[in-house]
Amino acid sequence: MTIPIEALKRKKEHFERGEDRRALEDPRAELLHLEEQGELVVQKIDRETISVSTKYGREKRIQKAHLWHHKSCGQCGHIPGYSTSIFWVMRKLGYDYNDPQDQTSCTAWNYYASATSNSAAQAAVAVRNFAAANETGYFPLIHCGTSYGHYKDVREELIRHPDLRAQVRDIMAKIGKPLVLPEEIVHYSEWFHALRHEIKAKQVRDVSGIKVTVHPACHYYKLVEGDAIYDPDIYGGQRTAVVTGLAQELGADVRTYSTWFDCCGFGFRHILVQRDFTRSFATLRKIEVMKEEADPDVVLTHDTGCVTTLDKSQFAAQAHDRNVGVAVMSEAQFAALAMGAHPYKVCQLHWHSADYRPVLEKMGIDHERAWAEFQADLKRLENGEKRYLDWDDVG
């Protein structure tokens, strides 16, 4: 083969490395600078905060109350006890919030599945939601790990590319909103981590006998990695501290396993239309490894797709006598249970597939009685006594 001299010259030209554009050191400072220049509006943190450390040491402030809940498609649609538990814990700690209807999906699940969108549309959807939050005065709290990671990517793109900012500003003008980004992009699991001592103070159920494995969600800590929360006292600062920090605070027996870095197998399009991959990966690389190496009672994670994948993939594998069969839930549901939440009225575990009853028994919860209580409530709805259950009904 001819040596491609000209191509090699071009190649060298292309790989003169300039500025490291992988991630901004301090996106908050960049946002405030752009705001000074009139390029965008920054929604400020304006209530009491708790400071936590991100991966490379930047301090991130987590606002405790007055939060605008950016809900998650998969949580609300298929595992509603996830969202309900987040709200329930916040209510029990006495913090006010806004659960908006003026919110769309980030649409990133679809984007990562089908690519039927583009960077301008993705940024405009994000900014529309942030502008809606800003209008209420409540500070955004993102429920979904993918929304959180994707929004951080969008923030980087908007900061780096003036043309994209101009395009998004133009689109926002057509719907009567400014280009708004919040001072910090905060995932709900960061709020739970920051407030873990307050959650611990309200704990009423002993979880010290519960063996836990943690699946850290890819889009939480792999996208814009420097913005995720780490703590040198948790895994020596080598893995994100969220979820594990809370489980340890509650006294659970957190155990490690070798494939912690692997994704769950969700795959975005795979979970919907190519689940042979999802099932195989979730069971062979995650659940079976956890069972073999750590024998957990429950797998805790902090994202929509991870709970769905790790929970739902076990049923088919059981038919093949694989070493599966472990409860899967979010750390929000686990914390709510530890704080005394009802397993069905609040945590809605009947929407889950893997058997969660053994872990409830280990927590001292009579799940048969709890189910009967839930059924009694459903009767009230069926006989027309009430149209909906509300917060007063669930304790």
């Binding site: 000209e6 191509a7 090699l8 190649k11 790989f15 490291d20 554009r21 992988r22 498609c73 998969g74 609300c76 649609g77 298929h78 509603p80 309900t84 209807q101 003026d102 919110q103 769309t104 649409t107 679809n110 599945a113 089908s114 690519a115 039927t116 969108s117 583009n118 549309a121 405009a124 529309r128 990671g149 793109e157 057509k174 909103k177 890819c218 889009h219 792999k222 870095f261 994704c263 795959g267 795979h270 239309v273 689940r275 991959f277 739902k312 993939s313 049923f315 088919a316 809605q348 009947h350 889950h352 597939s353 839930f374 459903l378 709805l381 909906y388 509300d390 917060w391 009904d393 669930v394």
Partner: protein
């Protein structure tokens, strides 16, 4: 083959010899012209860390390293092959961001997928076959999945609990304490004005037009639904 493209994978190897090189280069130019491309590609140590971290590489004939290297070499032949055969295997988990060189092979794939959709490539049409109802759901309602999708015939591998949800759906949704979650055909209650704003975003960014290349029927339905709703609000596109 000219001197300057001698570094390309030969079409006899890369396949798709019937597609002119100029067309393959045109598509790669679209990939390269995306504003994110320069942020996603820096070079390659050929260390294979991205492959070791990649879930799709374990189950498919797929390699994020090949994606980054083909893009770095600007090998339009190989990139075309990857756009037709590889990109839809990616899990988009971004484990490949572990790259010590700072590459983002998953991000390059996102861009390649967009180009595949925009140009109606066969791989995009095949990958999205069966996915249309999801695109319809997210673009028309603003939520990606809904409780009423949990039908046992759609998710037979998720166990009998899926059937329980399906049978009790309305009742179980009414038992949820958050008021926004009483819905069955959307993940949560989305306000009308919010949907209007979302539709305007799809129109003004060209996102709606992208559907036309891969699924003209779906595009026609979505366009009609959105235009009708916008017209009701007195908004003309």
């Amino acid at each position: 083959m000219t001197q300057t493209d001698a570094h390309y994978k030969r079409p006899q190897v890369a396949g798709y010899a019937d597609v002119p090189l100029a067309e393959k280069e045109r598509l790669f130019e679209q990939v390269k012209s995306d504003i994110r491309f320069g942020d996603y590609l820096y070079g390659c140590y050929e260390c294979g860390i991205c492959v070791a971290a990649c879930p799709s590489a374990r189950f498919y004939d797929f390699s994020p390293r090949r994606i980054a290297q083909a893009a770095a070499r600007e090998d339009a032949e190989l990139i075309y092959q990857q756009m037709q055969e590889d990109i839809w295997e990616c899990s988009q988990c971004f484990s490949c961001l572990r790259c010590p060189r700072g590459n983002n092979p998953g991000g390059i794939i996102t861009i390649m997928r967009e180009v595949a959709v925009n140009n109606g490539l066969a791989s995009a049409k095949e990958a999205l076959m069966g996915y249309s109802r999801i695109i319809y759901k997210i673009m028309s309602t603003g939520t990606q999945v809904s409780p009423d999708m949990l039908q046992p015939d759609a998710f037979p591998d998720w166990g009998p609990e899926t059937s329980d949800v399906s049978v009790n759906l309305d009742l179980w949704r009414r038992a949820l304490p958050p008021e926004t979650l009483h819905t069955t055909s959307t993940g949560w209650a989305v306000a009308d004005k919010t949907l209007i704003e979302l539709y305007l975003i799809w129109f003004h960014t060209g996102a709606l037009d992208m559907i036309a290349e891969v699924d003209p029927g779906l595009h026609a339905i979505l366009a009609e639904v959105m235009e009708e709703r916008l017209e009701e609000e007195g908004i003309e596109i």
